[in-house]
């Protein structure tokens, strides 16, 4: 799994960008929680072989949720979600789903250790990593998609192995295999590259600016802001 803090930061950025008038402390918390949620499959890996980046990192869960949400809010005559939580509930549900998929699952796909995208129909960890550039000598060069990629998967991306062969180390399960391994060294990664530190800092700054705890005392400012926001 990608560093949990990175998932949370990306979730917070999406929440700020997409919630609109539904933006407040509770809804942001829901979206961030949804972004962190996929990492829970690391806990399942303590009993199920190779559950990390597999059980909750596939395309089926988001697809099913999109289908359910679309059916409830757009197709069915009475939306249970809207009746219970109103317009804000519907908006928050969609953004939380975006957080789960784009901030929770996707970051694992675009770098090691990869995500088991089509599980359980197929068992292969995919990683989309490479380069895409235009060169005046060589034309378009790209190595993200390769039709001749070796490995167990059917999708044209690099594949790292199956749940049997590719084990993913997390702080919950250091060797990635089903046993508790109580004595082994655990590493909780906060950020593991410079760009991740930048994303986390951007998210912290964005959220701080949106909530403006230092401007609460001056009433009027916030009321005016929420009025312009709602008028969209």
């Amino acid at each position: 799994m990608a560093p949990t803090l990175l998932n949370a930061a990306l979730g917070a950025l999406l929440a700020a960008a997409l919630l609109g008038p539904a933006f407040d402390g509770r809804t942001v918390a829901v979206v961030v929680a949804a972004a962190v949620l996929p990492n829970l499959d690391a806990v399942a890996s303590l009993v199920v072989t190779g559950a990390t980046n597999t059980l909750l990192h596939n395309v089926w869960i988001p697809l099913v949720l999109v289908g359910l949400l679309y059916w409830d809010t757009a197709l069915s005559e009475r939306s249970a979600l809207r009746e219970r939580y109103g317009w804000r509930g519907v908006r928050t549900a969609w953004v939380a789903l975006a957080g789960f998929t784009a901030a929770g699952v996707a970051p694992d796909l675009f770098g090691t250790p990869g995500a088991n995208l089509l599980y359980p129909l197929e068992d292969a960890y995919y990683v989309v990593d490479g380069l895409l550039l235009f060169s005046t000598q060589d034309g378009i060069v790209q190595t993200f998609v390769s039709a001749t990629a070796e490995g167990p998967g059917v999708l044209p991306f690099e594949s790292l192995g199956t749940t049997e062969t590719h084990s993913i180390s997390t702080w919950v399960n250091p060797d990635g295999r089903p046993d508790l391994a109580l004595g082994s060294e655990r590493e909780f990664v906060v950020v593991d590259a410079g760009w991740q530190a930048v994303v986390v800092a951007s998210a912290l700054a964005s959220i701080a600016i949106r909530f403006r705890p230092w401007a609460r005392v001056r009433t009027g400012d916030t009321a005016e802001d929420s009025a312009t926001e709602a008028s969209r």
């Binding site: 700020a16 005046t136 000598q137 906060v190 593991d192 410079g194």
Partner: protein
């Protein structure tokens, strides 16, 4: 450079989160223009050594700009920005500055030889690279800043990822795709315009596109939520 397209993608995510009621096509165009502008320092490369990642990529000019906007809108009695483009323009100016700082300079700081952080006050490129983790065996480990302690003299040497000065560092870009001296002798020049050099850059680009498309598809809030 991290490709301008990747900067633009991350910039869109940040701008969508901060523009609030000012979010529209024109505001996004302003933000994107501010993201692209600093790359113009590539064109200074042929006349000034190490200009790329220096003139347009530092933290001194943004700090100066922040002070100017603050002075103009809060301290002066009549604000020139507000007079010309109203409160909306002030917000867009702040967002553009934020995006320049985080989506452009900071991302480049974490890429190749980094950026010339304190230019023109101090000429030194720095690169932000490392990791931060907590290990049950070693405790908190961070490799962003190296601190060496010389055991004999007791001298402390702090290295925050320094990579050199404008004289020694050249960051390749389409205008000068290699070190200027190598380029003079080269027969054919291969100019490379990157779109995404790694998976995570493609991801940030995709996230920006996703954000803008999602904003378009969103339904408008019903009238009663305006209260």
């Amino acid at each position: 450079m991290v490709s301008s397209i990747v900067h633009a993608g991350f910039a869109l995510v940040l701008a969508a989160g901060l523009l609030k009621g000012s979010y529209d096509r024109r505001a996004l165009a302003v933000v994107l223009a501010v993201v692209l502008l600093p790359e113009a320092d590539s064109f200074l490369g042929p006349i000034m050594s190490g200009a790329h990642r220096t003139v347009g990529h530092n933290f001194v000019f943004p700090a100066a700009a922040a002070f100017l906007i603050y002075y103009d809108t809060r301290i002066r009695e009549e604000s020139a920005i507000r007079e010309r483009v109203a409160d909306r323009g002030v917000r867009i100016a702040w967002v553009a500055l934020f995006v320049h700082l985080f989506a452009h300079v900071s991302l480049d700081w974490a890429h190749l030889d980094g950026v010339n952080v304190l230019w023109p006050l101090h000429d030194s490129f720095f690169r932000l690279e490392g990791e931060l983790l907590w290990s049950s065996a070693d405790g908190l480990v961070q490799t962003f800043v190296d601190i060496d302690l010389n055991p004999e003299t007791g001298d402390r040497r702090v290295d925050a990822g320094s990579t050199g000065t404008t004289q020694s560092v050249h960051v390749n870009n389409p205008v000068e795709p290699d070190d200027p001296e190598t380029l003079e002798g080269a027969e054919t020049i291969d100019r490379r315009f990157p779109v995404a050099g790694r998976g995570w850059r493609l991801y940030l680009l995709g996230l920006g596109v996703f954000t803008v498309v999602a904003r378009r598809l969103q339904s408008d809030p019903p009238a009663e939520s305006a209260e």
